[in-house]
């Protein structure tokens, strides 16, 4: 069950638009923020709110990069591996993250803090190599600056 406040807000937003389905991505994002990822229950809830079949939500959820159908960590790290970042060392950045966090691409650390996802060009090629952490950009990165960022996020959790 959703908290009443979130339920009310979503119902209110949906009532305010001409076509409920246009809010499908927003609703998925809101539920994902609440549950931590788009759970099976969230798929059902989203469908109910929007008045469509769960499979229509699933069609979208399985298409989009930023919708997670499996649990993710508190911080989702998107590592750009497209051309400009590659030329400027994204492979080193990615390898360093694997080693430092002890996880591979698509995995989450045991303490549920970090998830690592390689992605296409994030539109910050002037800051290559670049990554996003929870949609905030960092770059141009070096191994040292990356260490500092990760260490700070780790320290923040307490």
């Amino acid at each position: 069950m959703l908290p009443e406040e979130l339920q009310d807000k979503l119902e209110h937003d949906i009532a305010a638009v001409d076509h409920p389905k246009e809010l499908a991505v927003d609703v998925m994002f809101a539920l994902q923020d609440h549950y931590g990822y788009l759970t099976d229950e969230a798929v059902e809830t989203a469908a109910g709110l929007l008045g469509i079949a769960p499979v229509e939500i699933e069609e979208l959820a399985t298409f989009y990069t930023f919708v997670y159908r499996e649990p993710v960590g508190k911080y989702v790290i998107h590592v750009c591996d497209s051309l400009l970042c590659m030329l400027d060392g994204s492979e080193t950045i990615e390898a360093h993250l694997h080693q430092k966090l002890g996880i591979g691409a698509g995995e989450t650390t045991g303490d549920d803090l970090f998830t690592l996802l390689p992605v296409c060009c994030i539109g910050y090629c002037d800051r290559a190599p670049a990554i996003l952490i929870n949609r905030k950009v960092y770059g141009p990165l070096t191994v040292e600056s990356l260490d500092a960022i990760i260490d700070r996020l780790r320290a923040d959790k307490d």
């Binding site: 389905k21 991505v25 497209s82 539109g123």
Partner: protein, 424 residues
């Protein structure tokens, strides 16, 4: 350094966005004040057409002409969608525009909408640009409070609302017809026209889709006139200024506003600070990942749509990715084809099957397990990509086909040497 007039980025600041007051001080919202409710929409369209404003989203379609394809008697509500998906690798100008001067885009949307009598505006924005989405939401509110957006704008009787729509994130959502599906909450595979979106688009209503940069040009054209705009370009064939995103092996990558048609050499050597570490220019992709390699014999080319067309290439998004003699172009193409393989929407077979096929062969060559026969196999499959359902797959074919055309020696060196000659 030659200095050129700044138009779109005249209010750009190193660390913050321009406020509505700063935008107005630079002449912002005068076009809107002077034309809304006063200039007939047909005249707005005609001025844009006379200015030869070509779409900045990659396809270079004339913006005024596209506006005219909305039928006079088309039903309401009509929509204007601002395409801020910007997922073409190497391209980041729309992000710069929104962060520099958001009201320029807002005014551009209102004016463009007035040309087709659209009352609903939507900015479609990629999730990686969350900060830009928030800026726009806030600044649209400020514009509404100032009377420039919303109901009965400045007492003109014209209504126009702007909403920000966040994408779930996929490259194909930048393609117009896929974007319409995305906006309707459907799985964003492309649709094949007809009907064209300007006739039957969002929710079966006429929908004009334009790129951020295209829309940002509109207030300046209406304020200063079509001739002024045309004369901003250095070439006869060009019009306006252009945001060139330069990246790769240059000293100062960035987004530079320069006259349309400025020579490539000048962009690289002067504005982007020259080649990095004293390297020499080998090639570039002149307009994003969906354009072909432009070899060094064209280093003096004029960078406008016609100039690149004349050499069988495209200006695309004008995202110039620069490579030097130490760059392995086979490896570059492998990276691009990885991108296309990952982002294919999977709807049609030539793209879904063809791109991974090329990817496999190209990586074998890069890894030193190539065979001469692969070159023809890649070539044949690249030609099949042109039969795909949308323009995505021909875009993927562009770097591959130009690699075969201009850099066969480099491919052969990989095959004959049994390894990548650039690996040291």
């Amino acid at each position: 350094m030659t200095s050129y007039p700044k138009v779109l980025l005249q209010n750009r600041k190193p660390d913050r966005i321009a406020t509505i007051d700063e935008y107005r001080e630079s002449g912002g919202y005068t076009a809107l004040t002077e034309s809304l409710g006063k200039v007939p929409s047909a005249d707005v369209r005609q001025t844009i057409q006379n200015a030869v404003l070509l779409g900045r989203g990659g396809a270079a379609f004339p913006a005024g002409m596209k506006m005219s394809t909305v039928p006079e008697d088309a039903p309401f509500p009509r929509y204007l969608v601002c395409n801020a998906d910007e997922m073409e690798p190497g391209t980041f100008k729309d992000r710069v525009l929104i962060h520099a001067d958001p009201h320029q885009l807002i005014e551009g949307m209102v004016l463009t909408a007035s040309g087709v009598q659209a009352e609903k505006g939507i900015v479609f924005i990629r999730p990686e640009y969350e900060s830009a989405a928030r800026i726009l939401e806030r600044e649209v509110g400020i514009a509404r409070d100032a009377g420039f957006v919303g109901k009965d704008i400045l007492g003109s009787g014209f209504d126009f609302h702007i909403d920000v729509h966040r994408s779930g994130g996929r490259y194909i959502c930048g393609e117009v017809t896929a974007q319409l599906n995305a906006l309707e909450g459907r799985r964003p595979n492309p649709r094949k026209p007809p009907p064209f979106p300007t006739v039957k688009g969002l929710w079966d209503r006429p929908t004009l889709v334009n790129n951020v940069e295209t829309l940002c040009c509109v207030p300046h054209i209406l304020k200063n006139g079509a001739d002024w705009f045309k004369h901003l370009a250095l070439t006869e064939t060009g019009a306006g200024t252009k945001l060139y995103c330069v990246s790769g092996k240059v000293n100062t990558p960035g987004c530079f506003e320069l006259p349309m048609g400025v020579p490539l050499r000048e962009i690289v050597e002067t504005h982007a600070g020259g080649m990095r570490s004293g390297g020499t220019f080998k090639a570039c992709l002149p307009g994003g990942a969906s354009t072909g390699f432009l070899p060094k014999e064209h280093f003096d080319i004029d960078m406008d749509f016609e100039g690149l067309k004349a050499v069988g290439n495209r200006l695309g998004t004008a995202a110039i990715m620069v490579f030097d003699e130490s760059t392995c172009l086979v490896r570059v193409t492998c990276n691009l084809i990885d991108f296309f393989a990952r982002e294919s929407c999977g709807w049609c077979t030539p793209c879904r099957e063809g791109i991974p096929y090329i990817k496999d062969l190209l990586w074998r060559i890069e890894n030193g397990q190539g065979e001469v026969a692969y070159l023809d196999m890649i070539d044949r499959m690249a030609r099949h990509l042109w039969n795909a359902y949308c323009a995505f797959a021909p875009g993927a074919a562009a770097p591959v086909q130009s690699l075969l055309e201009y850099y066969r020696d480099e491919l052969m060196a990989h095959i004959e040497g049994g390894s990548c000659p650039f690996d040291k």
